[in-house]
Symmetry: C4
Subunit: 374 residues, 4 copies
């Protein structure tokens, strides 16, 4: 790993964002019809490696059903608006009519309503009734309080997600969750993150998680670099986590832990690059929040809005595009960037560069782009 000395006595690795990366075509090309985008977490098979973020502007019971039917996965945040309000959609709809600052104030109010356990069961039930995999998300600090309700609601997958989650949280005022013991004790597969380094990813893998979410932040505008100074280029974070996956595969005697990339992934090209860096799947925020049928209804905000001491989520307007279906798999102009759907572009990228499966595509050659000249 290349280290640069930034000054006397302080060195740094160089990290790369996905924007710095391009995929190099191999000497083969493939028929797009022969390309498979499938992956699997435990017993659950998915046709598309695309997970809608556990963020209220992106995932509602309805969009989780849409995602599931199309081969992806939607996740419900059990600390979100759908478990606090009987019908959050009209409440969210009001936000777009307010000035941005007032929308943020109102948004924060909406999160002060108490979580209603019966709504957890009801919302997950909607997805299960559609015959689809149900996934419930919450923050590490709420696992003890809310896991019983999630279990009762018969979720298939549990997602433990915070801006930066470690296997070793330390606090003098509360007894932190022992992730390893907790995951060992339960029966459903757990996805956990975000994280952004080889060692954190490896430690999270050792807790028994089925997948780790790579990328620091909880979705929406990523405030971590600008506001907190925390930042690891996503291409590097993915490659490091893929390195941890390899190490853990060896030390565990063959347990494969999935790496789910989560960051500013906007286009099918971004998804292709994430996979080529080593990801098994991706978690999408903004590109899905743009959907005409997204629950954010023209707005996007980070789940940092849940933070009690330092609420950081703010309502931001989002330019609307086509429907979730068009954005995910559509083939006409109403889709995402350039009229190309996320899955369609990923498939085209794999066919054009000559790869038939995601596992093969993880080994694609990549090239860093030289910086532009002013």
């Amino acid at each position: 790993m290349a280290e640069v000395e930034i000054g006397i006595g302080k060195s740094a690795r160089v990290g790369y964002d996905l924007a710095a990366v391009g995929i190099v075509p191999s000497r083969r090309t493939r028929d797009p019809a022969d390309v498979s985008l499938a992956w699997q977490v435990d017993a659950y098979h998915f046709d598309l490696p695309i997970v809608a973020a556990a963020a209220d502007a992106v995932s509602s019971p309805d969009t989780a059903i849409t995602m599931g039917k199309l081969g992806g996965l939607g996740i419900l945040h059990v600390e979100g608006l759908w478990t606090r309000h009987e019908d959050p959609l009209p409440l969210v709809a009001e936000l777009a009519g307010l000035p941005a600052e007032a929308a943020t104030r109102r948004l924060r109010e909406l999160y002060r309503a108490p979580i209603r356990p019966e709504l957890i069961a009801e919302r997950l039930g909607q997805v299960r009734d559609a015959g689809l995999v149900t996934a419930a998300a919450l923050r590490p600090q709420k696992v003890r309080a809310l896991f019983g309700d999630i279990l009762a609601a018969q979720a298939d997958l549990l997602v433990i997600h915070g801006p930066a989650v470690s296997a070793e949280h330390q606090s003098t005022r509360t007894e932190p969750l022992n992730l390893k013991r907790f995951i060992g004790d339960i029966d459903i597969p757990v996805l956990v993150g975000g994280c952004a380094s080889f060692s954190t990813a490896l430690h999270l893998m050792r807790t028994g998680a089925a997948g780790v979410i790579v990328g620091v932040g909880t979705g929406g505008g990523d405030a971590n670099r600008a506001e907190l100074g925390i930042g690891v280029g996503l291409a590097t974070a993915i490659a490091d986590a893929a390195g941890a996956r390899m190490r853990y595969l060896d030390e565990s005697g063959g347990r494969y832990v999935h790496v789910i990339a989560h960051g500013d992934l906007r286009t099918g090209g971004d998804i292709a690059k994430a996979v080529a860096c080593g990801a098994d799947a991706v978690m999408i925020d903004g590109a899905l929040a743009a959907a005409a049928d997204a629950p954010g209804q023209g707005g996007l905000w980070s789940m940092d809005v849940l933070h009690s001491d330092l609420p950081r989520g703010r309502w931001e307007p989002v330019e609307r595009a086509g429907t979730v279906e068009q954005i995910l798999v559509g083939a006409d102009l109403s889709g995402a960037v350039g009229g190309v759907s996320l899955a369609g572009a990923l498939r085209a990228a794999m066919a054009t560069t000559g790869y038939a499966t995601l596992k093969e595509f993880q080994k694609a050659e990549i090239m860093l782009a030289s910086p532009p000249i002013g």
Copy 2:
């Protein structure tokens, strides 16, 4: 080749765009009158190393004739509008009056008209009747269907062009074209591409092609990096292909395969840099689509519009400049950037830096520019 480790277990080469490159003057200067811009493909001699892209917004029978008379080459795409419509010009003219999205929809409709073989003969005949070299382009998947018509039309050169073409296309649903056998069986020289790596270029050279087109994309706005995540800096792609040319020259006992650079080449300076990186000639899109007499009539679109599953071409407005002649060889203000014609600037660059022929200029010293400071 310098490799950078972008994370644990994933390395990448660094690729350079032409924008990162500058040509270093040698210790000689030359009289521009002594500079030759000539090159040759098989028996065909050209005074200028400038090929108009096989794109409907750039090349029509009329502009191919203009290009040819000025010493360059125009290519007709036999899957394009000129072989689907008796008179495409008024149809294209309408597009500029529509909103961009409607123009794209209408554009796609225009490509749904069937190809009329008799028009292939008629269009190529126009160029041949002017006493000029005729070149016909098509995509690899249409070679079998359309080659007979092209042969009947007595094309001098065949151009097989797709966003990324390999010598080894794989498909389980169709029998892919065996490029090597096909090229071996026919009598006319073939230019084939795009490609973007040493090994793909080398494999394409081994098919017997007379030239390879370097640069991933089919012209118009290059959507490959943004939408598909595919990207190799053009300076690096050209240098790699020139390396393959050297290798193939050795292994074939002296067969010289031309490297034709195709990317966002806008100015004579871009062309000069492409040659200094190793190109024999360049293929131009946007700079020619800007011509007052360009068939795009103020619009530009990529031939990806032909893709049946994932149509990506969209109509985009282009700011008009002078005529094709002024842009190519003019010496007054109506020409391209800064009033300098493409050929004039290339000639001036070679004279100023001290090179008399394109082959010498390929060996010019180049310098990478350091990144700008914000």
Copy 3:
């Protein structure tokens, strides 16, 4: 230290700005309540490592009191408007109503009023009467003339600050201040700077200073890079000074000299990065000048305005944000960037990345971000 040869016979180190740096989360996370932001200069303890710049647009007696009460430190410039005018606030208020150039002219006039020693005592007295640490700043060339007044005013800390201060000023027309002798002779701790290299920082530490201010410039818009060509990336300057601190700790047998970073620090993330590069505390200009209760009242200017031969300070408008308190420690929307206060963001950054004290945080792993792609 990596050296790059920029040409034959001239090499250069590569310096990094804070913008190029991101903090890497460790494999631990921490409860924000367990994070301490405290530091200490001599006998003076501060809850926050944040010092308001010795600049008239940032620090007045009132804001120094606010800063002190919140756990930070405000510094009064004894060559500034508060010691030249009985009531500078209405005079400054007028500036915002003038065209920028006229405001600058008027600003320079305001600095032509003589310094009134009795005001030095009065202004510092206000802060002392509030039970807070008093700090007085002046330029090296005025130490002889004004130190008596500062001493009489019973300042707790002395700040000797210029755009670039060295331990070895040379002049043939005046006898330069011998910093080492001066600091040896006086009883109060001295902070001195700006400086921007290992050797200057080390020499300043050897004068007996309690702290060195790292960063070339005197606040406000940093004109040094653009106008004078002087520039050292702040991350590198901080790391170099931290290296000098280590060296001096060794050669002095254990004297710890504080490194105070001063540059374009706008957010809590910038502060976090400065500490992670090795700083003990930071000096803030613009982010505090934006306060509703800042003495600049919507304007910001550099104390270079004091330069007699080459006055460089100019009045520039500043967009107003919340109060000093909200910007420093607030937790609602009226605070700084993204509604996150400087101290709150620093605390969150440390908790998220797993560090409990500033000294531990100085050892955080950092990562350089790859350049963006155009």
Copy 4:
């Protein structure tokens, strides 16, 4: 010299622009009054290392006199408007009232007027009558035709300037000027350039030139990179030429050839950086064309306008600043960037970083700035 392989079989050096460079303060500071900006060419002493470009928008007899009186040097281009028109000022004044393209057309017409030898004598005489050093510029291809007139006009210095000048121009249609023989035959010192590499600079030094002008282009907007693809970062070009100066000093047994940097030098900081990279003096275009009393009268154009085959100069509007005097040595708001004069900023940069003479300042430590993060 670091080489980067940009692709298989093509390597490149990395070149740095002045924008990538910052000067590092030494551990000393100096009194600005002790800083000397003087330099000398042969018998001619100058108080300031600042030469006004031999460009009609910058240098007229009047501004050459102003430059000379202030300690700098102005150069008259004997192929310019001042030797073609009795009174060019009203003709140039008209240009600002025309649309840019019409202004360029009219500008080119103005250069079609014949050169009047008697005006060469008259214009240079004006400067000489003011008791100042006279410098006359022309292109290499016109030396034979016009040198007699320049000699008759008793110029003190001769400047042979083109976009890229070599000691080895080759032409089959004309007998090129043998620079070495020509310079050996004449009695007045010659400055020659532009050039941009170690070997070209060394060869030009071997012709007996008193100075070489480093930087490819003839002033005004530098079209060479954008239009011709020629480009060498100026910091690298200066350092390389300084390396050639060192080599030639050795091989000639002590002949010191001056390096005059010419490029997009806008501020005193740019000048400081050029000197810190190794320049003895600088040639300024745009920053002086902005003067209220500049002959360009609000317009700037390159002397490439003289090119007969490929005229590249075009009239471009320039935002007006203070007078030549204010820009060069003024100390108030009417000067250049930030109200700081070119010489004042250079002096301040040297004092702040601790250097007393230009020769010492050439050895200043410099630092490359890391690229910005988007």
